[in-house]
């Protein structure tokens, strides 16, 4: 797959360096990358289309600054990875508001840049091939992993709780567990296989996903919390 990157930077020199870093990374790691360049935040926000995988955003831009630009983009695109570039680290401190948990400080070194880009590309790629394929009574369904909240087992049947609807299929929890092994799912008790990425809270012995409260069995509580911590730990690593 080709990775689509946008650079939003009003300083020509800095934009040139970034483009050369991307070029070097692409050659060194054999990744195909398309780069688009914008001179100002306003340019990318105007008629924004969610086609990018990664956006590098300078914070200090004259017309529309990076943070405001990021907020606009976030409203239209929940998945794109935003990476701030800044002269003043204080400005990037609030990156959490737009899910930018890291930033690059000018002057940017190739090493720091490549580390950041590598992680971002890994995230994009892991999202790309994350599908669960299964057949219900009348059709074959291909569902993106992020759609699945959890899987419930009920008398030889499995219920897949997706964002919009629920699918009932035949099969065992063990099979499903093996199928979803690399996608960060966790059995929080005998009946529930939970997508860790979708967990939004933990209250006493309940895992909270959207409107659901799922019981975590006592012997699995510790392992569940550890798996969840590890999952979120990997997010910025």
């Amino acid at each position: 797959m080709r990775i689509k990157i946008a650079i939003v930077e009003d300083d020509k020199q800095s934009a040139k360096i970034l483009a050369s870093y991307i070029n070097r990374y692409s050659k060194e790691n054999n990744v195909e990358i398309d780069v688009m360049h914008y001179n100002d935040g306003g340019q990318i926000v105007y008629e924004y289309k969610p086609i990018y995988d990664i956006i590098f955003l300078d914070i200090e831009m004259r017309l529309l600054d990076g943070v405001t630009t990021a907020k606009h983009i976030r409203r239209l695109d929940k998945d794109v990875i935003l990476i701030f570039i800044t002269n003043m680290p204080q400005y990037a401190l609030k990156g959490y508001e737009v899910g930018a948990l890291n930033y690059l400080l000018k002057p940017i070194t190739y090493f720091a840049f490549s580390q950041e880009l590598k992680r971002a590309i890994e995230k994009v790629q892991s999202k790309e091939n994350s599908y669960l394929i299964f057949s219900t009574k009348d059709e074959i369904i291909r569902l993106h992993i992020s759609e699945i909240a959890f899987i419930e087992s009920m008398k030889h049947k499995l219920i897949i709780h997706a964002r919009q609807k629920q699918y009932v299929i035949t099969g065992t929890m063990k099979e499903m567990e093996n199928k979803l092994e690399r996608f960060n799912f966790f059995r929080c008790n005998n009946c529930y296989l939970v997508n860790l990425a979708r967990v939004t809270g933990v209250k006493d012995n309940l895992a909270i996903i959207d409107d659901y409260e799922l019981l975590i069995s006592r012997p699995r509580k510790k392992a569940f919390m550890e798996a969840l911590t590890k999952f979120f730990g990997d997010m910025i690593l």
Binding site: P89, K94, Y96, A100, L104, E152, K203, Y212, E226, F232
Partner: protein
């Protein structure tokens, strides 16, 4: 022996006691093998131990001591092969097992002898009763022993065996062994019994004393360990709190300096000599460099810690990136914030500052919330080798009085708020993450699922 015949403990009883004592200790130690391999070792060991005791029983009396020593060696081998421990630790556990086994065998045989010697029974019936007693008494003794052990073994850190511990337990075992068996060698000492029942009783009593001594030594060790741990944690905490207070003063000083800047700028403006002007500017620049380190996260305590660590990063040419929603930490105690951020950043700086290539000295920090989950994430690039012991990371710091207490202190602080700590290493990144469930959810969640 006053006409009474002393029947020695049947060799199989001894072998079984020795094997069982080792087995109980092995249950608590880290195994070398899992599954059928482990079962095989356990079964083989019982067979070998029994065979050896049977053979030793046939040897002349002169070989009694060497035979005994070889039996102990077999116990050592059993523990060493089954468990992932050093030879020294295995020796310690083996001697401990020996003391338990001596007591169990002696006690069991004393009771059995007392019951069966007063009855005139056919050989077969006697055998049956003996086996039944063996089963019942060993079960009771070793199950009790298991629970006693679990009390000590719960604390994994105590498993670190030093030569001093070995010497103590060896001394206990040796004296118990000599005194308890004296009567069997000769009755002509002030410490020997003259009748079978009496001799058995002396042996059991002395063995019991050995057992009590051996446990009290471990009790002492446990207590000492708890005490040093509390002290060390207290030290770590005090140190970070001290640093926090010190930094607060420094930062106030910087703020004052900042307000003096205007006056300094006026001075520079007035200066006509260009070289002097440049000098002034350089001095000014280096003076305000630290001001960049100022962080305003929304949490005053964290701001101070971050600023002081930022200064350390500037001094060590480390690039420190942090994205922090400080308001999320408002529910936390000052001391806990000091402990978590002080320790974790200190570790990260320690890990990054010795990297040769300055470009690679990178540290990251992110504090954010995903709905009702608070996530605190520290990451640093590292190149040195990390050392793990028993699956736990051990410090690479030179100062061993603080050995590993940094991370322990973080874990304790996180646990106070129901948090979990995870340490991960991937692609030369060392990552410490903490997840704390926030309880202030005001949403009215509908419980759609019946509990199953």
């Amino acid at each position: 022996m006053n006409g009474e015949v002393i029947r020695h403990i049947p060799r199989f009883h001894t072998a079984l006691a020795e094997w069982a004592a080792c087995f109980i200790l092995i249950l608590f130690l880290k195994k070398r093998f899992k599954g059928w391999k482990f079962v095989l070792i356990v079964i083989l060991s019982l067979i070998i131990q029994s065979l050896w005791q049977y053979t030793a029983g046939k040897l002349p009396l002169a070989y009694w001591i060497p035979g005994m020593m070889f039996a102990v060696f077999l116990m050592w081998a059993f523990i060493f092969v089954a468990c992932d421990v050093t030879a020294l630790s295995a020796l310690y556990w083996c001697i401990h097992a020996f003391i338990i086994a001596e007591f169990a065998a002696s006690f069991e045989w004393q009771i059995t002898f007392y019951i069966t010697s007063n009855l005139a029974l056919k050989h077969l019936v006697q055998q049956l009763i003996e086996y039944a007693l063996l089963f019942v008494i060993y079960s009771v003794v070793f199950v009790l022993n298991y629970f006693l052990e679990s009390r000590y073994m719960k604390n994994k850190t105590i498993l670190e065996i030093r030569v001093r511990d070995l010497a103590t337990v060896f001394g206990i075992a040796l004296s118990v062994f000599v005194i308890s068996n004296l009567s069997f060698v000769t009755q002509h000492t002030p410490f020997s019994g003259r009748y079978a029942v009496e001799i058995f009783y002396i042996r059991t009593l002395v063995d019991l004393i050995g057992l009590v001594l051996s446990y009290s030594q471990r009790e002492q060790k446990l207590w000492m360990h708890a005490k040093t741990e509390i002290n060390a944690l207290q030290n770590v905490l005090n140190r970070h709190y001290e640093q926090y207070r010190h930094s607060k003063e420094t930062i106030e000083l910087i703020n004052r300096t900042y307000h003096d800047l205007k006056h300094q700028i006026a001075v520079i403006r007035a200066e006509k000599n260009p070289q002097k002007k440049a000098e002034y500017l350089d001095a000014l620049e280096s003076g305000i460099k630290y001001y960049e380190a100022q962080n305003k996260t929304g949490n005053a305590v964290l701001d101070v810690i971050l600023t002081s660590k930022y200064m350390a990063c500037i001094d060590n040419k480390i690039h420190f990136s942090c994205v922090v929603d400080g308001k999320l930490l408002d529910f936390m105690d000052v001391l806990d914030i000091c402990s978590i951020f002080g320790n974790a950043l200190e570790n990260a700086i320690e890990g990054a500052k010795n990297i040769k290539d300055e470009e690679r000295r990178l540290i990251k920090l992110a504090v954010y919330a995903r709905n009702n989950l608070l996530i605190i994430n520290f990451g640093n690039y590292y190149e040195s080798k990390l050392k793990f012991e028993n699956g736990h990371l051990i410090t690479t710091k030179k100062d061993h009085t603080l050995h590993g207490y940094g991370i322990k202190s973080i874990k304790m602080a996180a646990a106070k708020y129901g948090g979990t700590v995870n340490i991960d290493t991937k692609d030369n990144w060392f990552n410490l993450s903490i997840l704390i469930p926030l309880q202030n959810s005001n949403k009215n969640e509908v419980n759609k699922n019946e509990e199953v």
